[in-house]
Structures are given as C-alpha cells and as structure tokens.
C-alpha cells in the first residue's frame, strides 16, 4: 500500500526567528496522508497544530521561520523546492481553508473573482470555461442561488455561506489534499455540523484527502479515520480514531476526552432543523 501515500512528513521542526531568541514551536512532527483519507489533528491552541498545517501548505515565511525535516509530496520535498515549484502546487494540489472565513476572504473583491482565482493562476481555461467551473463548484458546496452569490461581496454573506465559499475556492482545482485549519470554530454549532457533512461528501466524491485540524474532539470523531494529538509542539498520541477515543494511552488525551461535553453530535444534527432560525 506504499504507493497510496500522498504526503509524508518526517521530523518536521519549526523554529521562529522573528525574535532575538529563536523559539521552537513544533518538534519532530511526523505524518502520512493516504489518498482519500481524512486525518484529524487535535490539540489546544498553541500546541503547534496550525503551525504544522501552515508549514505543509507552504505558508510559513521562509525568512522568519526555520524549518527542518521533510515534507514529501509527489516525490518532491516541499521545504527545498523552488518558490515557483511550490506555487504551482499551492492552490492546485494542496489547498487550505481557515478558521475565520470573513477575514480570510478579501473584503473588496466579489465572490466570483475570489473563487475563480486559482483557475486563473493554474490553468489556461477560457472565460466561459472558468465561469462554468465556478458555477459548478458553488453548486457542489450547496450554496443556494450560486449565480447570485458569485456577484456578492463577503460581508453580504452569512458565516456558513462564507465558509462554503472558502471550501469552493479550495476545491475548485480538485486538489489532492485539503488542509482545513479549524474550519468550523468560528461558526454556530448547527452550521458546524453542516460544514463537516459537506467536507465528508466532497471527500467521498472527489477522493480528496483532508487534514482536519480542530480542538473539538467530537467533530474529529465524526469525520476522521485517524487522529493525531498534539501538545506543546509534540505529537503525543496517534492512531485510528476509535482506538484513541475508547482506549487512549496518554494522560493528556484522556483529559481532552474527559473535557468533551456529553452531547451526541448526531443529536445536534437532528435538532438543527428546529434550532436553525436563519
């Protein structure tokens, strides 16, 4: 099954260099991601999970942050390839969605232009072909009236719609890997489960692997097959989701699981029709 592996991260260390004393925030991070797989990455804020994700997406400044280790994708080490090569992968093979969809979208550009942008960067499609693609992906992320939405600006949409737009932008090139950095944290609980369902559907349909980062263990449990638990820059535990949840080996993981409010996420989903007033 070795050739199934899409992404292989080994011994990733990240050091900050924008202060006088360098500070290491991620130690010996290892991760393999197979095709079509959804892997969860959990930990509290400051544990280094977002840093690792940004490093994989190639979004950490090369100047201020020193990275050691390897991020192998498609036979290339993303840490050493040229900027041009990296850019041809970004948004094309590997794309990313973020925690706060309002600020992650450009406030002064129309939705259409923002969703279309990866097509402009990575393809030579004609204007009409690009329009078709945008319309298709906006429909796929289940936005009502996509032709209206594409003419709007981010501030005119609701939080859930914005995140759907972000997902559409990330998925328009049908990337191999989608990195989702706390994509539901800024949203209402009811919208959260909708977004998670959408990600799962897209994963099944397009065979896109997803690295799902969250501090919400119950969400990770409904979505992911494998999970990695991070604390203070180290991976403290990893394995299949059910095993980690039912039989955690680390004290820290046990604490995290104990902290989950005892509400069945499925229950929330069933109730949303009544509570979602929007």
């Amino acid at each position: 099954m070795e050739n199934d592996v899409l992404l292989e991260v080994t011994d990733l260390n990240i050091e900050f260099h924008d202060h006088i004393i360098p500070e290491t925030v991620v130690f010996d991070f290892d991760l393999t991601l197979k095709q079509g797989e959804i892997v969860g990455l959990v930990g509290e804020s400051g544990s280094g999970k977002s840093m690792s994700a940004l490093a994989i997406a190639g979004l950490l400044s090369r100047k201020d942050m020193k990275k050691r280790g390897r991020i192998f994708y498609d036979g290339k080490d993303l840490l050493t390839i040229s900027r041009n090569e990296l850019r041809s992968i970004q948004g094309n093979d590997i794309s990313m969605i973020f925690q706060e969809p309002l600020t992650s979208l450009n406030p002064v550009k129309r939705i259409y232009d923002q969703v279309e942008e990866p097509l402009r960067i990575h393809t030579d499609l004609s204007k009409e072909q690009r329009y078709e693609k945008v319309l298709k992906i906006l429909t796929e992320v289940e936005l009502d009236d996509p032709e209206h939405v594409m003419r709007q600006y981010p501030h005119e949409l609701s939080g859930g719609m914005r995140q759907r737009v972000m997902i559409a932008t990330a998925m328009i090139m049908e990337p191999k890997i989608l990195i989702a950095d706390e994509p539901t944290t800024a949203l209402d609980v009811t919208i959260q489960s909708q977004i998670v369902k959408l990600l799962k559907k897209l994963n099944a349909r397009k065979k896109t692997s997803i690295l799902f980062i969250s501090h919400d263990l119950s969400l990770v449990r409904t979505l992911c097959e494998r999970v990695l638990v991070m604390k203070d820059g180290y991976i403290v535990e990893s394995g299949p989701v059910e095993r980690v949840f039912t039989n955690p080996t680390e004290e820290y993981t046990k604490k995290l699981i104990a902290a989950i409010p005892k509400i069945d996420p499925e229950l929330i989903y069933h109730n949303e029709r009544d509570t979602d007033s929007k």
Binding site: A57, L59, R87, S88, I89, Q90, G91, N92, S95, M96, F98, E100, T103, S104, L105, N106, P107, V108, K109, E117, P118, I121, H122, Y153, H155, M166, T169, A170
Partner: protein, 315 residues
Amino acid sequence: MRYALKKIVTMMITVIVVTLFVYIAFNLISGDPAISMLGTNATPERLNALREELHLNDPVIVRYFRWLIALFKGDMGVSYSYRIDVSTMIFDKIPVTATMAAMSFILMIVISIPLGIHTSKYQGGVLDRIIMILNQIIMSIPPFFSGILITLIFGRILKIFTPGGYVSYSNDFGGFLWYMFFPSLAIALPKATMAVKLLRGSLISEYNMDYVRTAYSKGNTTNGVIYNHMLKNAILPVITFLGMALTDIIAGSIIVEQVFGIPGLGRILLTSISNRDYPVVMAIIVIISFMVLVVNMLVDIIYSLIDPRISFEDK
C-alpha cells in the same frame, strides 16, 4: 440615499457658510468700496451715485442673495479696481490653476504609489530606510521652498527650463505644460512624501491580514498578492488623504504661482486682496470652494466604488 443626501447637505452648507461669511465680512469690515474707487476727495454726490449704481445701499442680506443668484447665472459682478467683468478677468485663469492642480495630483500619485509599494515590500531594507529618511526630510519642506530649490537646480544650474519664462497655454500648449511641470513638482513632492508614508503603513498592516494568507494559499506570487489583493484594501485610507491633499494642492498653488511667476488665480487673488477688490476675491473664493467640494464629492464616490462595504444607498 441618506448618505448621499447628507453629503449634499454638507456641501451646500459649506458653500453658504463660506460665501455668506465672506460676503458679510467684506461688506461690514472692509472699507467703503465707493471711497476706495473714487478716492477720499470725491464729492458725497458722486459717492452716493456710485453706491446706488453698485447697489451698496441695500441691506447686506439682500445683496448677498442677489449676488449668490447672479453668481449661479455666471454673473460675478464688476471688479472695483479694473471696472471690468470679474468673469472675464478670471475665466482664462481657471485652466492655469486647474492644470497645475491636476498635474501636481498626478505627479503625487505617480511618485507615491510605487514608492509606497516598494518600501513596504522591502520593509527594513537599506533602500527602504534611505527612502524613508529622505521622505521625512522632504515632508518638512514648505512648497514654496521646494519651488525655490527646483528653480535653482533645474532652472539655474541644469538650465532645463527658464524660470519666469511662463508661456500661455493659448500660445504654446506644449511649452505651457513643460513650464507647469516644475511648479507642479514643487507642490507634489511634499504631498507625495505623506502619501508614501501612509500607503507604506497601510500596506504593512495589510500583510498580516488573513485574506493575504488565503491569496498565497492559492498559489499567488508576492506581486500577485500585492497588486490583486492588498492594494485595493490598502489604498482606502490613502484615498481620503489624497482628497484632502488635492484641496491643499489647490490652495498651495496660490503660493507656488508666485515662485514661478505664473499668472493664475493666485496672483489675481493676492492683488485683489491688497486692493480690497472684493467682488474678485469673493468670486475666486467661491470658485476654489467649489473645486474643493467637487473633489470631496469625488473622493466619496471613489471610496464607495472601491469599498463595497460603504454604499451611497444605505449607511
């Protein structure tokens, strides 16, 4: 609609406040124009006749509204000193001042936007530091002194233009534009430095925005991120400044005209102020305040075109 209405009301109040103030003040405080026209030796009969002719005996508020209405019809009254229509006096001067203001404005933008982008992109670098130090120094130069320096350097030392050799636009338009380039530069330089500083700061704060990270995640180059994403956001606070700068440029042109010996609105304004020729002064003040108001209006429209979060319909 409320936003547009509020703007228009403010505009109208500005016109009325400025003109009424100017009118009443000139009428009450300045000397009797009949005396200043005929001299102190004139007979009371002659003075009275002239006062009648100029409608100086009516109440001030009546005269104000008569003057304002006439003004909107294009009749600006008769100059006390030259006894000719004010409109003929100043009509051919408006293009001179307007050209200078427009050129200064364009120069300011052409200078400041590339420098603002460059210094923010290479923030902390050697070139950035040198530019920012020069910037701070040029910012402290009053426009008439930059005019003197430009005259000295380009006119006297490099001899690429003749100081004092103004050519009228009706005789030689090319020569006129070439001559106007130097006063425009003198006005534009100090203003451009402020724009550089503002745009640089604005761009630097944009670099930390989430949408910039999103843009990079799509595979954009740094230039792509700057030009397609950040610039439009970063320019917003600069636009407000540019509007204010343009009104300053219009006012500043009065002074720089003196340095370069240009017969524009400024020169007539200054001579008319010393001659107490107040129909001329008032007409020029009104024209300039209209220019200022149009600029302010344009700034608001441009702002709302760039920033979809502000619209003329609501807010």
